[in-house]
């Protein structure tokens, strides 16, 4: 369970949000809303441990994520604005490296199956440089199918995706929540769940 208590974040002189508290438990989806510049990405990056909030506390199962360090990273997948893939490597190579880094099973058949499901079957041996924006996004999303981490932090995962891919990602999100995973997401789409609990958090300054 992720517990956030009284965190305050600022960029430069501007305070983005003050004394924000919430918690996310197994089977929860937290949908962050707010206008551009309201601090959604900063909040997500703080939850990953990439950004240090000015004050407040972020705890994973009652232990501060700062104290957990790498232990915590095993529990989290973060998908940010950048796809986090190398243009000169193929989809297969990119996912292999990502799987080794995340300590997941980097078996080739498993990666190929994930690529197939995400709709990139046949594209696995092309350098991702030649893929379209949407296809690159799909390569990044394939990491979600490979990981065992319970907490997914997704920053605008639907950008650049076509309707088929949006439906597929909705389905992947539903499956993860149904299996007791946790998701924190920012998006302008509506995310429909069949099970678990969906909550919304509005960031306004």
């Amino acid at each position: 369970m992720l517990t956030v208590s009284n965190i305050t974040c600022s960029r430069g002189d501007r305070t983005l949000f003050r004394d924000l508290s919430f918690s996310v438990a197994a089977g929860d989806l937290l949908h962050l809303k707010g206008k551009n510049g309201s601090g959604k990405t900063t909040l997500l990056r703080s939850l990953c441990g990439l950004f240090l909030p000015e004050s407040g506390d972020i705890r994973w199962n009652q232990t501060s994520i700062r104290a957990l360090g790498e232990e915590y990273f095993r529990e989290v997948v973060y998908l940010g604005h950048h796809n986090g893939i190398k243009d000169d490597l193929t989809a297969l190579e990119n996912l292999h490296i990502a799987a080794v880094l995340d300590g997941d099973d980097s078996d080739e058949t498993r990666i190929l199956a994930a690529l197939d499901r995400i709709g990139l079957g046949g594209y696995e041996d092309l350098p991702t440089r030649v893929l379209s924006q949407g296809q690159k996004r799909r390569v990044a999303l394939a990491r979600l199918l490979l990981t065992k981490s319970p907490l997914w932090i997704l920053d605008e995962p639907f950008t650049a995706l076509d309707t088929a891919a949006v439906d597929l990602l909705q389905e992947i999100i539903r499956e993860h929540v149904a299996l007791g995973g946790m998701i924190i997401i920012t998006t302008h789409q509506e995310v429909a769940l069949t099970s678990g609990q969906a909550r919304q958090l509005e960031l306004d300054n």
């Binding site: 940010g80 490597l89 190579e93």
Partner: protein, 223 residues
């Protein structure tokens, strides 16, 4: 952890192989700088032999600087660096893997091309051997120390110039003892030992501290 180390080294080597121009710039820069001096100074053997150690080392320093900027920059831009920071592995090990790949791509070629310096400057075979050995021990220190600077200046505007101001002064000990070893080898081979020992000492010191410092600097730069 060893698998991760190997995978990251292989990744960086593969990336460099697919983008060979970057790789050759460093090497050609070194060769050109080395070749300019005999043209400017003249072909007097005695003078050339005397300035060779210093020039070879200064050229090596500048050449390794040249590639430093790219060490983390492209990973930073496409978000792969962020993913490395979120990997459940010690960041210092990943950083060390990147530095190792950087050295294999920029340091090792300089060691291998060093005989060319010998030809141009009329160095004896003994001195040339010492120069290659000194470069072999010294260039890893350059990559290790340079990585700290590259991490600190990551994402800054005009980071390249700042990087050289930050890192070049730290290269001075390697320059002094590296060039010293080669100069000494002209008179006595035995006397080069303390120089080489000191260079090894620097390398071990950098090997222990630099990955850790670089990892800390990366976390600060990416906030």
């Amino acid at each position: 952890m060893f698998t991760t180390f190997r995978v990251i080294v292989m990744r960086d080597l593969t990336l460099a192989m697919r983008r060979r121009t970057d790789l050759l710039t460093t090497l050609f820069f070194f060769i050109i700088v080395i070749s300019l001096f005999p043209l400017g100074v003249g072909t007097e053997k005695a003078i050339l032999r005397q300035i060779a150690p210093g020039i070879a080392w200064v050229a090596a320093l500048l050449a390794s600087m040249l590639a430093l900027e790219r060490l983390f920059a492209s990973d930073f831009q496409d978000g792969t660096l962020e993913q490395m920071m979120l990997a459940p592995q010690p960041l210092s090990v990943l950083v060390l893997a990147k530095i190792a790949a950087h050295w294999l791509l920029t340091g090792l070629p300089l060691v291998l091309i060093a005989p060319l310096v010998g030809l141009q400057y009329g160095l004896s075979t003994g001195s040339l051997g010492i120069m290659m050995l000194a470069l072999l021990i010294g260039t890893p220190t350059l990559s290790l120390v340079g990585a700290i600077g590259a991490a600190l200046t990551l994402g800054l505007r005009g980071g390249g110039v700042l990087l050289s101001l930050l890192v070049l002064p730290l290269y001075i000990p390697v320059l002094i003892y590296g060039a010293g070893a080669v100069s000494t080898s002209a008179t006595s081979m035995v006397d080069t030992q303390p120089y080489l020992m000191l260079l090894t000492g620097f390398m071990i010191f950098a090997l222990v501290l630099a990955p850790w410092a670089t990892a800390a600097a990366l976390r600060i730069s990416s906030e």
